[in-house]
Symmetry: C2
Subunit: 501 residues, 2 copies
């Protein structure tokens, strides 16, 4: 008979935390500067479909919802309880939860081990009680959780990223929130989010295991300061990273950072070198900055993996080609010369003084036809594992601006500007659809980099019915960085699968 491991038990529980049918918020409040209000309003305004019960003393209603004095008093079943009341009240609330048969708790409450000795004593007592009574707890001192698939937005800030496949584990609520904020701004899809807080009961290792098994998660994104159970974490990470990429930022890399981490999450950061080696061996892709976490995760979530390090580059301008070539070599990627068939084809199309090599320089001619032909030749060639396209996206805006200048001088109709704008927008949509088609056909990643990008503009292109998306990069270095990391992950999984180095 199989006895489920601790991990397996937690896994079943963790699913229920993210997919509750009914929620109680203890400490719910109409005071807009209290956590009991942050969480309650976010759940309701975020569009959660299940039942939500406010629990508050001496109140008939909270935001028009009938209020209860205790969790135990609620007549219907309760799948998940958020606790926002002070640390001293928590043991009483947990007793209520047990009485009511609640199994899952998100403990927003702070004032535990992060505040010193007395808090640590309280936290230990709380943990012992939860273990004894089979309670799964996120936190304490957590920013909350999100599950976009259930329209469950239950964090302190009212950030609501769109639905997608990137799931986030954050040992810092503010860093996690900022990543979701960027995702919302860029329309990058997020699956689930958990602020792991003090990790009293559930820890990083449990979340990474669960996200590994979660069919709605395609990429796991982590912000980590310290790991309590290193062995279990590495095992879980190793299992997960064979199924999907795990992208992590390990903060507290330096002595100064380690000291700051110790005062923040109480994490004993340990030597980064040791961490780094262990994390890499578990297949985790390491980055250094929070923005990189999202950029890299989004690349994994959107494109096929490169099966080698040979890059083809097509550019509208020479300078970008040089910058891209430098970045590629410095990141272990190569730019092989053009194979004969590609050379001959391009030589027929391009002006006589074209670059005659890789990067293919279209010498400033923003012709969609030329660009499409060059792109097709490069992507379809066996000589390249990935293709970077510099400057075609956004080129329409360049042309549009010249027409705007002429219009301002009275020499081009303002009415026609709208038509032109629509024409370029359609061209760009077709171009990005084309990129997605090519990625599907050849199973290679393609990275378009914008000539001009406008702040607030969509930088990710979705195509109905496709498993891939086209990401518009703002700079070549960002595209090359993603390619490097995707290739690193490809090599890791190949080694694990084939046993070859």
């Amino acid at each position: 008979m199989d006895i489920p491991s601790q991990g397996a038990v937690y896994m079943a529980d963790i699913r229920k935390i993210f997919y509750p049918s009914s929620i109680a918020v203890v400490g719910a409040s109409e005071n807009l500067f209290k956590w009991g209000s942050y969480i309650f309003t976010n759940i309701i305004a975020g569009g959660f479909g299940g039942r939500v019960f406010p629990v508050a003393k001496n109140r008939e209603t909270i935001y028009g919802h009938r209020a209860y004095t205790t969790v135990a008093e609620i007549e219907e079943s309760v799948d998940l309880v958020f606790i926002t009341t002070p640390a001293v009240s928590v043991m009483g609330v947990l007793a209520d939860c047990v009485k009511k048969g609640v199994k899952n708790v998100v403990m927003i409450t702070s004032g535990f081990s992060e505040t010193g000795e007395e808090g640590t004593r309280l936290e230990d007592e709380m943990i012992a009680y939860c273990r004894e009574n089979g309670l799964s707890v996120v936190g304490p001192n957590t920013m909350g959780i999100v599950n976009t698939a259930a329209s469950l937005y239950a964090t302190g800030s009212q950030v609501r990223a769109p639905r997608g496949g990137i799931s986030i584990i954050a040992q810092s609520g503010n860093v996690g929130n900022q990543i979701m904020e960027w995702a919302e701004q860029q329309n990058i899809g997020i699956g689930k989010f958990v602020g792991s807080g003090n990790e009293g009961v559930l820890g990083c290792e449990d979340y990474v295991e669960y996200f590994g098994a979660d069919p709605d998660t395609s990429v796991v994104l982590m912000y980590v300061e310290g790991i309590d159970d290193g062995r279990r974490f590495m095992d879980a990470a190793r299992r997960t990273s064979m199924k999907k990429p795990v992208i992590a930022l390990k903060a507290g890399r330096t002595e100064t950072g380690g000291r700051a981490a110790a005062s923040h999450t109480g994490a004993m950061a340990g030597s980064f070198k040791t961490y780094e080696a262990a994390l890499r061996q578990s297949g985790i892709i390491l980055v250094k900055a929070p923005t990189e976490l999202l950029t890299i995760s989004s690349a994994f979530d959107s494109m096929p993996l490169p099966k080698g390090n040979r890059v083809g580059v097509v550019t509208l301008g020479g300078g970008w080609g040089v910058i891209t070539a430098d970045e590629c070599e410095e990141r272990g990627l190569t730019l092989p010369p053009l194979p004969d068939n590609v050379y001959e084809k391009l030589d027929r199309m391009l002006p006589p003084f074209w670059s005659k090599g890789n990067p293919v320089d279209l010498v400033g001619q923003p012709s969609m036809e030329l660009f499409l032909e060059s792109m097709n030749s490069m992507v379809s060639s066996d000589a390249y594992d990935a293709v970077i396209l510099l400057g075609m996206v956004g080129a329409g805006k360049f042309v549009l601006r010249i027409h705007e200048s002429a219009a301002s001088m009275g020499y081009y109709s303002r009415d026609k500007l709208g038509e032109l704008q629509q024409l370029f927008a359609d061209h760009q949509t077709n171009f990005l659809d084309n990129i997605i088609e090519l990625m599907e056909k050849y199973d290679k990643p393609i990275y378009p980099v914008a000539l001009i990008s406008t702040p607030g503009e969509e930088m990710i292109h979705y195509r109905d019915g496709s498993r891939f998306k086209a990401i518009i990069y703002k700079t070549p270095e960002e595209a090359v960085f993603c390619l490097e990391k995707q290739y690193e992950y490809y090599r890791y999984t190949s080694r694990r699968t084939t046993g070859r180095p």
Copy 2:
């Protein structure tokens, strides 16, 4: 008797290129897909205040301006001639210029040395003729020039960055244009721009000398692939970098990049190690990506220099503090502990479980008063040379969103949202003004990093009558990177001034 060096002669000429009273555009055209139209419409629509004469065959007018068949035919004096006609026509146009007494030419025309042997022969002939006749030439194969102080926007793309102190030398037109595009989007002030093209007559060394002497230029920004006259360039750079920072990206750092550069500008890139050492010795601050060029230049243009590497950090959330601490140590900056007087002051104000160290963690309390007090204590302390502020800017939006959620549920008046928004905007303005005042008072840089930034929002704050600006950074790593480079420059100038290492 002093004989002016070649450099000095060019300097006088170069000034006239950027401050012409009258301009002729040879090849002016109403065809919106021709360079003769790009340049002409950009000059007119950009608001240039001087006279502009189109030169075109068989046309009465161009965009309503009386057209001339040749430059020589123009009755009034002409300070600067743009040539956009094909390479084969250039010698004839130059002869016209000489006849008319024109001294300065911007040669947009391509098809010279960048296209092969015949082009090189033509370019050599052109150069010899210009030298003989005392013609100063920008280009050929240049994107054009800009001087915001004269509202002179004369490049191929209609980018119009606001007026400011950062002047740009670009050996790649598209890279230079993209930098101006970013500057326009972020409201970062640009002084002058020159696309140096093939550098037939005037080269990088002339522009760096001129920008060094130009009172309207506070920072010199360069994109370089190769330098012809290394000795003259290094001398000019050394002179300029003692007066103002010179920030450069040297592309073609790698073999792959060098090959791409050779095919682009024909630059013989040479060993990057050699370049790197020489450039650094000349006081040039090197970066690796075009976005970094602008970010770093803007920091130099906006803030006082740090006089040491000791950084104080105030944060609204622990995670950012850890990330910032890591970045600082990795970039050679230190986070000294709090001096007693600062410690005692903060200990009286903050909750008992505050971080008690540097970074000062305000544990998520978005109180402007607390933040201002902490900032003042850190900036005024002799223990710190620079201060990084994490999360106060944008915190109003966090609060606003909670109110929006409540409003969407019918519990907070939508009318009041507008008032609240205005209140937060005012708070933020005061906060940023306060930062500028502190920078003036203590002559130290202060780097606010936003909790939430909205795309397209102003990320630079100007205060009337102040020599400093407040830059709102999107990420801590960006702020730390700027601080590192500003400190590098401070050390360089101190060594040069004091002779000490």
